[in-house]
């Protein structure tokens, strides 16, 4: 999912071969994530917000909404809502890695363990980070919680494929422009 929005540009940009990893500042990562969010209409529709970035870890928040309930008798959110939030968080965390430059990275697979149920009426937070990267694959882990990050309601693990590098200078310029809009 992450950075697929740049696919049109990638066709015209050269792969920056031999380019060393450029460490992005927290502010640059935040700008990137916010610009990317604008191109993901469904996440915006659900009201998914960026909470913050701590090192390589990205945190997002999904506000509780009755439309997202899975068990109407209990008022609890649908398990699939966690799939959306975790796919979003793990996918976007790929641009927060300090080990590899941002790339066009479609999702290869995603596995979610449901450890508990989100209590009715509570917002859900999700955190994720790339824990291992190779030349072509990013291995990402994350979790979701309501009250405390020590009590996760779901854990997720997945892999994202680096199909093309992106021109980092162009990307940051776009993020800068996007942030000013």
């Amino acid at each position: 999912m992450a950075l697929c929005l740049l696919i049109v540009h990638i066709v015209h940009s050269r792969s920056p071969s031999g380019l060393s990893v450029a460490l992005l500042s927290k502010a640059q990562k935040l700008r990137l994530v916010k610009v990317m969010s604008k191109h993901i209409p469904h996440a915006a529709l659900l009201g998914i917000q960026v909470v913050g970035i701590d090192g390589e870890e990205l945190s997002l928040k999904l506000p509780y909404q009755e439309a997202l309930v899975g068990d109407p008798d209990a008022g609890t959110l649908h398990g699939g809502v966690l799939t959306v939030l975790l796919d979003q968080t793990l996918g976007m965390s790929t641009v927060c890695s300090d080990r590899v430059n941002p790339a066009v990275t479609p999702t290869l697979d995603l596995r979610i363990d449901h450890l508990g149920v989100a209590p009715p009426g509570m917002d859900i937070f999700a955190c994720a980070r790339v824990y291992k990267s190779t030349r072509k694959i990013l291995f990402v882990e994350g979790f979701a919680y309501c009250e405390s990050r020590d009590k996760p309601i779901a854990k997720a693990i997945g892999s994202w494929v680096r199909v093309a590098d992106v021109d980092l200078a162009w990307l940051l310029d776009t993020a800068q422009t996007g942030a000013q809009q």
Partner: protein, 146 residues
């Protein structure tokens, strides 16, 4: 009527619609179901609000997963002797190709139903069933009454 009451009705084309309408998130996604040769075909109609990548455009991968998870749960419930909401334990999803902005279909197989656990596999496709967009596998914890 509660969802559990509605689930007691014999699965048919009409009751499947009732089930789907009773689950707010399934209604929000617009999921529909039909009976085809005795098996349930789940349908996620084309809807711009489900787009996760506006430049392709492609459906949000998480939405495709959520659709498949809902399909698995109702496929399992339809096969229960005493229908009740199963609890999802885990969900494992392989993305095979991006889901374009068009109708998506899903069919499930109840691979194993034990006393405690059910294993359901799901295939989702768009134009051609032989070229699935995603496959998934999920485990449910069964209610003790079934």
């Amino acid at each position: 009527m509660t969802l559990v009451d509605i689930l007691q009705q014999q699965p048919s084309a009409d009751t499947l619609q009732l089930w789907l309408r009773k689950v707010p998130y399934a209604a929000f996604l617009g999921i529909k179901a039909e009976l085809r040769d005795g098996e349930i075909l789940f349908i996620l109609p084309e809807d711009k609000k489900l787009v996760g990548n506006s430049s392709l455009p492609a459906l949000h991968g998480g939405v495709v997963g959520a659709f498949m998870e809902q399909a698995a749960a109702f496929h399992l419930i339809a096969k229960m002797r005493k229908p009740a909401l199963p609890k999802i334990i885990n969900f494992s999803l392989d993305y095979l190709r991006p889901a374009r902005l068009c109708a998506t279909y899903a069919q499930c197989t109840l691979t194993r139903q034990g006393r405690l656990i059910a294993n359901v596999t799901i295939t989702a496709w768009q134009e051609d069933r032989a070229q699935p967009n995603a496959i998934a596998r999920t485990h449910f914890l069964l209610p003790e009454t079934d």
